[in-house]
Symmetry: C2
Subunit: 297 residues, 2 copies
């Protein structure tokens, strides 16, 4: 079977380039020194993200390449969702061992392409490097958000209610490769309820919620009994497994009614109230909130 060394970079590019979706706003795509993209409108701002997956860390040599490509792009798209934005154009940097089978790379691009097309994302270019180490797939992603509309980690205030979408824990079995970035859900939340703070759960609620609280200069309390654990998972896995890629957001309590349409909009995706934001002095607590631990649920 041909290796990358046999085929050469140019030979591989001839196979890959026709696979790339153009998306919207692409003026000049792959093949020049840089991609040229139409500027977003004056009513928008840009989102900009870079993210890498490394063989042996984020996937294994046995992972189907389609799922590696899918995961690499999905992680970056999830970050656009976390800002309540929409992904637009991606670039792909691959560090590849010389002995890799070119069909693996084509599989990777097929996985990238399918997810990109689902989200209307263009792949406007990329580059190849050789490496003596593991395969590394790095995605740069540009998105857009309405001017001033990005939902940051830093906007939570004491009294806000904390919610997560979906289920937590047990990602490693399959979810970390097949998760669906919550772009539509985040846009719905921004339009209907305007969360005060939001992020995607990449390292697990136990690590990520303290980051949101630190950015907002607040504390939090979480009712562990309320966590939406994936089947077969307990609280500790829901807190610590990571790679859930669900949305965590804070909502002022007076906006609670604005979530009423969630179940109709997303009948298959639970939305769970897991706790509250409290003042910074009260610190971080993974105990149920309030004096009477259960009465208020």
């Amino acid at each position: 079977m041909a290796t990358l060394k046999d085929l050469g970079e140019e030979g591989l590019l001839e196979i890959i380039l026709p696979l790339l979706p153009r998306g919207s706003g692409l003026v000049i795509g792959a093949g020049d020194d840089a991609a040229v993209l139409a500027a977003p409108s004056a009513e928008e701002e840009l989102l900009f993200k870079i993210d890498a997956v490394v063989s042996g860390v984020h996937f294994t040599p046995e992972t189907p390449p389609e799922l590696v490509g899918r995961k690499a792009l999905a992680r970056a798209i999830s970050d656009m969702a976390a800002m309540a934005g929409e992904p637009r154009q991606a670039l792909v940097s691959l560090a590849l061992p010389k002995e890799i089978d070119p069909s693996w790379v084509v599989g990777l691009y097929n996985g990238l392409r399918q997810l990109a097309e689902y989200f209307g994302v263009g792949i406007s270019g990329g580059e190849l490097s050789s490496t003596a180490g593991p395969v590394t797939v790095t995605i740069a992603l540009i998105g857009v958000v309405p001017l001033g509309g990005a939902v940051l980690r830093s906007g939570a205030r004491a009294g806000d209610l904390l919610f997560v979408t979906g289920e937590l824990g047990g990602s490693l079995t399959e979810h970390h490769l097949t998760f669906q970035p919550r772009v539509k859900e985040a846009l719905w939340l921004a339009a209907h309820a305007r969360p005060s703070a939001m992020m995607d759960l990449s390292d697990g609620l136990g690590k990520d919620l303290p980051r949101l609280a630190a950015a907002s200069a607040t504390g939090f309390c979480v009712n562990l009994h309320a966590l939406p654990c994936r089947a077969g998972c307990g609280t500790q896995k829901a807190l610590g497994d990571g790679e859930d890629f669900e949305l965590l957001f804070a909502l002022p309590p007076e906006k609670l009614a604005s979530l009423a349409g969630w179940g109709k909009a997303f009948p298959n995706l639970p939305l769970t109230h897991i706790g509250e934001i409290v003042s910074q002095e009260k610190g971080y607590s993974f105990e149920p909130c309030g004096y009477d631990h259960f009465a208020q649920r």
Copy 2:
């Protein structure tokens, strides 16, 4: 000495984040799920590039980390110059072995920062991955160019004159780490002469010029005696060494007079006429152009 494993990602970020220049147009920088950038004006388009350097390929473990950071960013900036654009905001993805000395990473960021500040580039975020392989530094870069003003590889026409900036060959001694991206020079050329095609020389004239010709559906002839070889280099090194990061451009002959001010604008950077674009049927020639090989020089 502390390793990255001792310090942890959060500890390292506390050191790095204050080093990051904001540049222009930065709304929300490092620390959230994605950076938020102001949209360019309606009279501009975006340039978008990703590029990686890998230890053992683009630098060695002995290369000072400041020069590794400098090179990683300079390569991407050079691609913005190649499009006649200006770099604006960068993201940095690092794949690092666990045993790396954090001071190496801080050195890398110092090199990034110094070059970024020189070119007015902001560093709006990034991320860290662990790897069992070599250090890999991947840069995503956004730039801007006036609407319709990007100079592509594909615009050369038969009869155009071919020029290169600077000297070629021998990059490996030092130039590949210390080269200056030709941003000002490219902007000057776009404003004064408007080349029909342009690119930066990353793989050497012998590989890169055929790419420009292929993109333009033309042939070329190059007068090897005219090549501006770096001291100690002959023609073969000038053609094949790579990593010159000089500008190669094509200019319709009627615009030749518009280059008259070059020497005053850039007194220390030679501009050399090395050949001509010819029709595609005439193919690629590294022989002097024309019937009488020397009379026309």
